[in-house]
Symmetry: C2
Subunit: 161 residues, 2 copies
Amino acid sequence: MQQVRDEQAVAAYVERFGDVLTDAGMPRLASRIFAALLADDDGRMTAAELTETLEVSPAAVSGAVRYLTHVGMIGKERERGSRRDVYVVRAEAWHDAIMSRDRVMNEIMRSMARGVEAVGGPETSAGRRLQLSVDFIDFITRRLGDLQEEWSERRAKLMAD
Amino acid sequence: MQQVRDEQAVAAYVERFGDVLTDAGMPRLASRIFAALLADDDGRMTAAELTETLEVSPAAVSGAVRYLTHVGMIGKERERGSRRDVYVVRAEAWHDAIMSRDRVMNEIMRSMARGVEAVGGPETSAGRRLQLSVDFIDFITRRLGDLQEEWSERRAKLMAD
DNA sequence: AAGAAGATTCACTATTTGCTGAATGATGTG
DNA sequence: CACATCATTCAGCAAATAGTGAATCTTCTT
């Protein structure tokens, strides 16, 4: 039973899912573009397609797409002998999105580590509190790295079927 | 060697760390308040202290503090027979912050799961792509829960010293 | 080399967000 | 019960953000 693709339903879904991503902190148009790519049949859309289906200006697409490629959630490709960029949702989109958060976490950790000194060293109560936070973040981010690997393996096995 | 606490250095640190948190997506004043509490000697400050040391209006503190309590990073207490609230950084601040992100992740996951149907079911290529994303997020968030537990135990042991 | 098709940049506008000051509300004290 | 002390809410303002349209830059075609 191969269902027929109801483009209108898909469009509606793109908007709903876009909203969810926006609530999660992603810029609005970037959210909609990512949603559109995820829901697109072959996960590949040109800038022109995006401006048309999302009803925004090419300029806006350009900016949003820069953001998405920057955080590694989509890739920009160009078929040789063509001028149009085609954007593809990367297989590692979520992986990278989480890892980019990880980078932020690392910043926080480093700043807190410096804070230990600023408040008078690890013997002070503020110092202890900061250090404990550092330890926690460190623990979580390390383990998160392991999880990504575990997933890659698990996925590889599934793909082998 | 118990260092003397240099309040000026602490204040400077609060601003730097506040910036880091803001970059991570936390509203500006909320970041500064959380930083101030983390760096405070006993991790407890009244609203008045906050307005004074951070040089903002009581109204602003009220709003920022609402945000922070909402995401569970600080607690509001009031000593009986007093009108002043005292805000304390919760021991589980980071834990809860991460878990609250987790709630967001769950929203995303649920939305993508609904998307599988919208794009024509799990047999379509878009459906497969969405389902794979769901699986990944599911995997990560579950494991993240385990990690929090592991940390609690680890921490309990350390505290026993 | 000229032209066309596309992407990007830039100046501007509209919306959203974070803060202030003033007014209002809540809660303890004489 | 009236007053004082704090917290909160609300209208307004200032700064940041996301998008538009026009101009510019790139790159393929002929």
